[in-house]
């Protein structure tokens, strides 16, 4: 009834459009609301992935899709298998003696665990950044950026251009352009990590895996790396493992929650953090575990 609704104390102005945001924002907002895990094209997909360290089964049948050019975060308590999972995505898992994996991991619909696939070539397409920044200590900043190419025997036509482009991409160029000859280990932690990211990007991977990349960094360096991830999302598919839930909430479009080697829930980040569907997810993110 009109009389009643006028007296309803709701906001005086309607929600959408009142601040002059225009229809573009409204459209993208409604489109994003309709997006779910299943509607986006997956860049990578795992089918019943099991991973073992010797006899111990660390991943128990993970079937997960990684959406293309989106950031997917993997969260969960210690020992839930999130690092192992990510390391299976570029076949780094099997580097550890006694480690093996079964199941399928599809990169653009091609199984990278198939017999004839070369793990080394997979890692060119799926790059990795580690928890502790690890620039090569015997090389300068410049050589570090080029290391991935040079050590593989490739000679870029214009190395200086490559170096500048990569360092620009990680927002490090202005800080180091005058000290390119200095050792890679002479930078601060946050700078080193960005250097490692530049090093990985120099190989032009399609997917970038990040295993707790900010754990060893202070908050400001962390913020800069997160900003970088936000930028990189436009060109790369990113998977980030983090034990910091707020980071997942800030940085990721999709979040997957792992527990005891199983995938419990995988959905848009905003859904996971406002109304998760699984009780265990809810308990973990609100701090009701243990």
């Amino acid at each position: 009834m009109t009389v009643g609704s006028q007296s309803r104390i709701s906001k005086p102005t309607p929600r959408k459009g009142a601040r002059g945001e225009g229809s573009a924002t409204d459209d993208s907002r409604s489109r994003w609301d309709e997006v779910s895990v299943s509607t986006l094209v997956p860049k990578m997909r795992t089918e019943d992935l099991h991973a073992y360290f010797g006899q111990s089964e660390v991943l128990k049948g993970i079937s997960l899709q990684i959406a293309e050019k989106q950031v997917t975060a993997v969260i969960g308590p210690s020992g839930c298998g999130k690092s192992t999972f990510v390391r299976c995505l570029n076949r780094m898992h099997e580097v550890v003696p006694g480690a093996r994996a079964t199941g399928q991991v599809l990169l653009d619909k091609q199984d990278i665990y198939q017999g004839d696939v070369d793990a080394v070539r997979v890692r060119r397409r799926v790059g990795m950044v580690f928890q502790k920044p690890n620039p090569f200590p015997t090389m300068s900043i410049r050589d570090n950026v080029l290391a991935g190419l040079r050590l593989n025997g490739e000679r870029p036509d214009d190395p200086d251009a490559v170096v500048e482009k990569m360092l620009q991409r990680v927002a490090l160029w202005d800080e180091v352009k005058d000290i390119l000859g200095r050792a890679g280990t002479g930078l601060s932690g946050g700078q080193q990590q960005r250097l490692c990211i530049a090093r990985s990007l120099a190989l032009e991977p399609e997917v970038l895996l990040m295993d707790e990349p900010c754990s060893a960094l202070d908050p400001i360096a962390t913020a800069r790396v997160e900003e970088l991830i936000h930028e990189l999302r436009k060109s790369y598919t990113i998977v980030i493992v983090t034990h910091n839930m707020q980071q997942a909430a800030r940085v990721a479009n999709f979040t997957a929650f792992f527990y005891l080697g199983k995938l419990i829930e995988h959905d848009r980040t905003d859904v996971i953090f406002t109304r998760p569907k699984e009780q265990r997810t809810e308990d973990y993110i609100t701090g009701r575990f243990g």
Binding site: V3, I9, F273
Partner: protein, 227 residues
């Protein structure tokens, strides 16, 4: 699995917030009950005394807002905790307005004085009964996390609207036939209006409770009955 937060202090803060909301709700219900009793008995003294209780309600609103913001800043709540906090913040606004409306009713009662017209039929009580019940049930739904109960509250709003819609047609002939009752009738209309708005606020609270429990936003949508 123990459903409490690992951080006991955090758990305590949430509990304390909930208790304060309940306290505020109790005060609001009391104001309403006293207001309606004052109306039924035409007790001006009671009406005036009830107006004083509003300051407690306002004070509680400030405290609850402050506490909720503290929790947001320090705990970064997510999921159900986040929905609880945001619901609380909005809910107390509605509660405070209900309190104010109760005060409005008391003011009208004070104006009415001890006079009572000879007309046997008083249209106000039935509106008041439903409205008060809605407030009560909305608060119960909040405590229990009962979305079903909350939805029932939402449905009852149309009843209040219907009763209120009949108020004017009923009072208008009286006013036209007997000018002496105009003063009283306009006061009754005002009280009826306050009750109707009060019921809307109770509906708001119920909608927030549904959101809190289910994570679904049912405001500004849902069944055509409340538009």
């Amino acid at each position: 699995m123990d459903r409490r937060h690992t951080d006991r202090e955090y758990e305590g803060e949430l509990e304390s917030l909930r208790e304060r909301v309940l306290l505020m709700g109790a005060h609001v219900e009391e104001v309403l009950a006293l207001a309606m009793r004052a109306y039924n008995d035409r007790n001006v003294l009671l009406a005036r005394g009830t107006i004083e209780l509003d300051s407690t309600i306002d004070q509680l609103e400030l405290e609850i807002d402050e506490a909720a913001i503290q929790i947001l800043a320090r705990r970064q709540p997510v999921a159900s905790d986040l929905r609880f906090i945001t619901t609380t913040l909005k809910l107390v606004t509605d509660l405070e307005r209900i309190g104010d409306l109760g005060v409005n009713i008391c003011e009208r009662v004070a104006e009415l004085g001890v006079d009572r017209s000879e007309n046997p039929h008083d249209p106000i009580p039935r509106i008041a009964d439903v409205a008060q019940a809605m407030v009560h049930d909305a608060l119960d739904a909040f405590v229990a996390g009962d979305a079903v109960k909350a939805n029932q509250v939402i449905d009852r709003d149309k009843t209040v609207d219907a009763y209120y819609a009949q108020l004017y047609p009923e009072l208008l002939p009286r006013m036209m036939s007997n000018p002496n009752v105009v003063f009283e009738s306009t006061r009754l209309l005002s009280i009826g209006k306050s009750l109707e708005r009060l019921a809307d606020h109770a509906t708001n609270i119920a909608e927030m409770v549904v959101f809190m429990v289910k994570g679904q936003d049912v405001r500004h949508s849902g069944p055509a009955s409340h538009q």
